[in-house]
Symmetry: C2
Subunit: 155 residues, 2 copies
DNA sequence: GTAAACTCTATCGAACAAGTCAAGAATATG
DNA sequence: CATATTCTTGACTTGTTCGATAGAGTTTAC
């Protein structure tokens, strides 16, 4: 049920771009993201490139180059990012809406596990579609202004 | 966000044992599970063995041998099975209750992504802890009695 | 005692994940 | 125009996991 490191990096990078998003053409360098987020630069290059082909970000080359979101952060959901980087959100592909594949069980239409997995899928998709990069940026701003919460050290 | 095939097989096998569960010592042969569920027999052996060390099932050797649940199906949740076979249910380990690990982000306590992942974790855990093998067996019985639903062919 | 079943350990190939590298193309700036 | 800076592209490495197979051993019903 885990997100890959790749997917996690993608979300972190997109959050940076979202927080930096402005209507003009300002871009953020890979290196800057890499340094502030502790993400290996070469690896991040790949990820941003994927997201470029996916139409999530756009890039500008050369000295003052870098990356920026292609659309307004409130138009980009976490679901979209993860689907591009990781594939289906569904825990098993026989309940995936976008990447459906038949499974090996004897009768899919009467499979109780499948019914439960459908519920699970729905709740995962619900969270991921409901959250946009704009939400993320806003929450991030809110968290930055709060003092450190000692509770967070006690997980 | 996917379940491994191993985890899926584990759930399917446990569902069989749950449907067959009786208070006496009756067991189900590996081969029978393997055949009805289309699971490679040798592979299933490994999985059942894991679940035996985990205390979920018990085995009986010899001619009339096989496997059975060690506890009543209503005492075994899907969460328990998956945790033993796959590890953490949490999408990232920095929000896992049972397998917490620090992540590489600059400030975990103020990480907006982490906050969202926590919500996601909670909804996943909620579904998986709420569902027991007894629930699964019951739903399975209910589904078997229904006629085929044409809607299921239109996913 | 023997055949049927599980037990345990080892191994395998393929795929995938995470990360690295190098050579190339575009561009702002002096 | 030269150059340093930055993205681009694609290949490559290294380690791990996944799914599966194999074989020798153990237990038990009959």
């Amino acid at each position: 049920m885990k997100l890959s490191v790749r997917g996690e990096y993608a979300l972190r990078a997109m959050q940076v771009l979202a927080s930096d998003y402005q209507e003009d053409d300002s871009v953020v360098r890979i290196q800057e993201i890499s340094e502030t987020q502790n993400i290996p630069k070469r690896f991040l290059e790949q990820i941003l490139n994927d997201l470029k082909s996916a139409g999530v970000v756009q890039s500008k080359r050369g000295v003052a180059g870098g990356y920026r979101l292609k659309r307004n952060p409130n138009q980009i959901t976490l679901a979209e990012i993860i689907r591009h980087i990781e594939g289906p959100l569904a825990p098993v592909s026989c309940v995936s809406e976008k990447y459906y594949e038949k499974c090996s069980c004897p009768d899919e239409s009467r499979c109780a596990i499948r019914a439960v997995m459908k519920e699970l899928r729905d709740s995962i998709v619900h969270v991921m579609e409901a959250t946009t990069l704009a939400d993320l940026a806003e929450r991030s701003r809110a968290l930055e202004q709060q003092p450190l919460n000692p509770h967070d050290f006690m997980i």
